[in-house]
């Protein structure tokens, strides 16, 4: 089996050099998650991304991290990232103010199979912050709605206060031929919605498994469960896609950190088809 990466066009600048971009807005999504928008230089390749790709974001003097792009790919004037504050660099990113600058490199990685899904129904299964890398795919599908059949968005989070994009999510559910269902692992006394892991939503989905493409993103355990469950329900495995995550220091295949079996998650992923990644998903400490 060969996993050769196809050569891209020659870069305009060294691939390790960040582009300073001005922060235009910082919006609070939940208690620990914020959405940052930056203004890339007009027409700069860093903003020409496909849904599912990520950027390497640099905080001056502090460090750099891979963050999935969570905005609309058709809007080139802005690059949007939804970031959960869990460590030093992410804390610095979410505490930026409009007018600050951060460095951006990319876009890197593989993308969601929007072309392959044309003419089919799309099932989006997101867990926690995993909805962020899927949102650009949702935007693209909504922009070209006629190219797809049913759209189902299933979203699971830890608790009601961890749900992202609440208003947008509700709006998606009201669109024709679209289902948007969410669930939480732990509900509070005022929560009137569904409680249970995200796979418990599958039985509420109206779809024809054979003509459905599933795009899954979330904690790895959740993705394993979801993919397995979907395959058991009749989705052809080659129509199931996952977005994997590993330690990345460069995003460009040099540092070697993100390897998972034969794959570099930064080059061959982060989006993988289920048959590609399945042999390696169940191997602990791979």
């Amino acid at each position: 089996m060969s996993v050769a990466a196809s050569p891209a066009a020659p870069p305009l600048r060294p691939v390790m050099e960040p582009v300073p971009c001005r922060v235009t807005s910082v919006a609070k999504e939940t208690h620990d998650t914020f959405t940052l928008a930056v203004a890339p230089p007009p027409g700069d390749p860093i903003s020409a991304f496909e849904p599912g790709q990520f950027s390497m974001l640099y905080v001056y003097g502090v460090g750099e991290l891979p963050i999935s792009i969570s905005g609309d790919p058709a809007v080139r004037e802005s690059l949007t990232y939804t970031i959960r504050s869990v460590g030093q660099v992410t804390y610095q990113l979410v505490t930026r103010q409009p007018g600050d600058f951060i460095g951006v490199r990319g876009p890197f990685g593989s993308s969601w199979p929007l072309k392959e899904a044309r003419g089919k129904s799309v099932l989006i299964v997101a867990g926690g912050i995993g909805l962020a890398p899927l949102r650009p795919a949702i935007y693209s599908i909504l922009r070209h709605r006629g190219d797809y059949n049913r759209l189902v968005i299933l979203y699971g989070s830890r608790s009601p206060r961890d749900l992202l994009y609440k208003k947008e999510f509700a709006a998606w559910g009201l669109l024709p031929d679209t289902q948007a269902l969410c669930t939480v692992d732990y509900g509070g006394v005022t929560w009137r919605g569904h409680v249970g892991v995200v796979t418990t939503l599958f039985r509420h989905v109206r779809m024809q498994p054979k003509e459905t493409v599933a795009m899954i993103c979330g904690p790895e355990i959740m993705m394993r469960y979801a993919a397995r469950e979907l395959e058991a329900r009749g989705l052809p495995p080659e129509q199931i896609y996952l977005s994997m995550e590993r330690n990345m220091k460069c995003g460009a295949g040099f540092c070697g950190h993100c390897q998972m079996g034969p794959y570099f998650v930064c080059k061959h992923g982060p989006v993988f088809s289920y048959p590609q990644i399945k042999p390696y998903l169940d191997l602990y400490e791979l």
Partner: protein, 380 residues
């Protein structure tokens, strides 16, 4: 391809070094330094390790006195050419604060005209592998490129093998086939060594002729071939690397990994001396006043505990998982990624491992355990 055979004496070799230096090359050669052989800049033949040879065995790499007058009676240096071409510490970015924003400063890669004298065939093969990884994939490493392009390579065929060598089974030696400007073989009959030389490039040919190389005696070429063949036959270690890709996934749960893990210190010596290991890490540094920031790139090793750190823990937390990753990558996964194995059979990891873990033996044990598992009868 028949190449014309030349003869160089020691004066010719001296002239070769001098001429390269005149042309602006930093000439690197194997130098005895700090109890081992390292690639160091040399000024002439006096800097070469005449009078020294190596004792190489699992967990043992010693420089010991040598009574012959040979200058190349040894095997690979402690590290491959990556020590010079894929720098272990290098700045990749500099930035400066600028009115609330920051500016990326010009940071030209540290280019150097490098010439290498005495490159073993395994190291030539390793260089081709690094070229594929760092220049031939989706993105090119501009630092490696700046130093690699224009490098002048004087290889040396191995007429003897060390106990730790297994280049023959990896197809990377003991005879250098391609990728060099000049290839030598050393003959020591009496007091002074003489050199069989062949050109591998127009630049190499020019250089040989300018250094007073004369046509070699007709039997020399065959003598070199025979010497290389003898050296290959003398190798007792081998790796059945063609079997690696199919086996490695099936062997993931093999109990043998636990056996290795008990001995492995996860010290990372193997990755440090391996001529093809390329993993790096990046470190961000600021000046105390915060006005200047830099990013530095350093060699890293998959054996470190934090190499796979994500979400509060490491994916490969155990030493077992880390050793398994290194061997699997080097022998099998590299083939899927880059078309060839990552190993060239130089044997450095065997010699420089403090506890003498032998990659060839470990793979052999894994193959045996796979065969045993396959033939284990399942009772009805």
């Amino acid at each position: 391809m028949r190449r014309k055979s030349y003869r160089l004496d020691e004066n010719g070799l001296e002239a070769l070094i001098a001429r390269l230096r005149e042309q602006g090359y930093t000439v690197y050669g194997p130098k005895a330094d700090d109890s081992a052989l390292h690639w160091r800049p040399i000024a002439g033949c006096a800097d070469l390790p005449r009078g020294w040879t190596q004792e190489l065995a699992p967990g043992r790499a010693r420089l010991v006195p040598d009574s012959s007058s040979a200058m190349f009676h040894h095997w690979p240096c402690a590290e491959g050419l990556k020590a010079i071409l894929h720098l272990s510490i290098v700045r990749v970015m500099a930035a400066r604060r600028d009115n609330g924003a920051f500016r990326i400063l010009d940071n030209p890669p540290p280019a150097e005209k490098c010439a290498f004298l005495g490159v073993r065939p395994c190291d030539l093969a390793a260089l081709a592998i690094l070229d594929r990884v760092l220049l031939g994939d989706r993105y090119a490493d501009d630092i490696y490129q700046a130093r690699r392009q224009g490098a002048f390579l004087v290889a040396i065929h191995c007429q003897q093998s060390a106990p730790t060598c297994f280049c023959a089974s990896m197809g990377s030696g003991p005879r250098a086939r391609t990728g060099f400007d000049i290839a030598l073989a050393e003959f020591v009959e009496g007091e002074a060594p003489e050199y069989f030389a062949e050109a591998g490039s127009p630049a190499g040919l020019d250089m040989l002729e300018a250094c007073g190389a004369t046509p070699a005696p007709p039997e020399w070429a065959r003598s070199v071939e025979e010497g290389c063949t003898r050296a290959a036959a003398a190798q007792t270690r081998r790796v059945d690397v063609h079997a690696a890709p199919q086996l490695i996934d099936a062997l993931f749960e093999s109990p043998h990994w636990e056996q290795v893990a008990r001995r492995c210190l996860a010290c990372g010596n193997c990755t440090s001396v391996c001529p093809t290991c390329f993993c790096v890490n990046y470190e961000d540094r600021t000046s105390v006043d915060g006005l200047e920031a830099e990013r530095w790139r350093l060699w890293d090793s998959c054996f470190t505990q934090g190499f796979t750190y994500i979400h509060g823990g490491s994916v490969r937390a155990s030493v077992k998982a880390r050793y398994r990753q290194w061997l699997s990558h080097k022998l099998a996964r590299w083939q899927a990624q880059f078309g060839t194995p990552g190993c060239v059979g130089c044997g450095r990891c065997i010699a420089w491992c403090p506890v003498g873990i032998d990659i060839t033996e470990e793979f052999r044990q894994l193959q045996l355990s796979a065969a045993a598992a396959a033939s284990y009868p399942i009772k009805d």
